[in-house]
């Protein structure tokens, strides 16, 4: 059900329609957001199966909260990303605890190619993903949300539970680190 004037319905409106029983609205929300949730989870977890679990769980939470959603209080996309990010963080913490329990305290190498990096075609993109993977966790999340998911700094601040200024600072440091990391691979990325 697309409005007669051809306007694209807002996420809030779609969620309200879904809460009223309209499954087509759910499909539209899924088409808009499932891919992004999955991308974020892939980048954070670097495990395709776990990333799919997280994306499905995040969307399930959206379906469940639909009747209680207060329009205008938060953006659906921001809320979904925050849920996805939190679910990933929880899973990473659990995994780390299990590693400690098993007395395998060695951290996984951050600079190895991620699943996404391997999956996506092109040396340039792979090089970028490797450089992103080597960033500290919060810088990595900020740069992914800003430059890969094209979210605003305000949205990123909400997702990460921090201030806009802190996000700007994280992004600035992340870009500097990426520029430095990729400088050694200029030929690979077709520059210089």
């Amino acid at each position: 059900m697309v409005p007669s004037d051809g306007a694209v319905p807002e996420d809030d409106a779609l969620l309200a329609r879904y809460a009223g029983g309209d499954l087509e609205a759910a499909r539209m929300l899924m088409d808009r957001h499932a891919g992004r949730c999955l991308s974020l989870a892939r980048r954070m977890l670097r495990d395709e199966t776990e990333a799919e679990d997280i994306a499905q769980e995040a969307m399930l939470r959206l379906w469940k909260i639909a009747p209680d959603w207060r329009s205008g209080e938060a953006k659906v996309s921001t809320w979904l990303y925050r849920v996805t990010s939190n679910l990933c963080t929880d899973r990473l913490r659990r995994a780390r605890r299990q590693m400690v329990d098993l007395d395998q305290t060695a951290e996984p190498a951050d600079d190895g190619p991620s699943v996404q990096a391997r999956m996506e075609a092109g040396e340039r993109v792979a090089a970028l993903h490797q450089a992103i993977a080597a960033l500290p966790e919060r810088q990595r999340l900020a740069v992914q949300l800003r430059h890969l998911d094209e979210m605003s700094n305000i949205e990123i601040a909400e997702i990460m539970g921090t201030s806009v200024e802190a996000v700007e600072s994280l992004l600035a440091r992340a870009r500097r680190a990426l520029a430095a990391a990729l400088a050694g691979r200029k030929a690979e990325i077709g520059f210089g």
Partner: protein, 132 residues
């Protein structure tokens, strides 16, 4: 010397424009979610929706029931009404019972009609004397 340092610094980094191009390529190369995952997410939406509607239907029935009970006069009145209805059904459907007292009275009445003239004992004597 200063120029050389600037050149070295530039060599050590890639420009912002190139970074932005790389980000754009990465966005374009983002793999789409698997069809099985999308199907699972959609099925979740359908399941949650069906459960919610079932709960809503159940909740919708309760206020109507409560309204009906209040209209009758409360739970006590409803219990009394139910009791009356039950007794009514019991009376209506139970087998008729014979009532011996009534049967006996009918027999007595018949004897009275046959052997006791309406005028009483004195009237009978008088009529026999007249006949004699």
């Amino acid at each position: 010397m200063k120029g050389n340092e600037a050149m070295t610094e530039a060599d050590r980094e890639v420009p912002d424009q190139l970074l932005d191009e790389l980000f754009a390529e990465a966005r374009a190369a983002r793999p789409a979610p698997d069809a099985a995952l999308l199907r699972a997410i959609y099925e979740d939406a359908a399941t949650v929706n069906a459960r919610r509607q079932a709960r809503a239907a159940h909740r919708g029935l309760r206020p109507r029931m409560i309204g009906l009970i209040e209209w009758i006069g409360g739970v006590g009145a409803l219990a009394a009404l139910a009791g009356c209805i039950a007794i009514g059904f019991w009376i209506g459907f139970s087998q008729p019972v014979s009532l011996p007292v009534l049967d006996r009275q009918e027999e007595d009445l018949a004897e009275y009609v046959l052997f006791e003239p309406l005028g009483g004992e004195e009237d009978l004597t008088a009529s026999l004397l007249q006949e004699g």
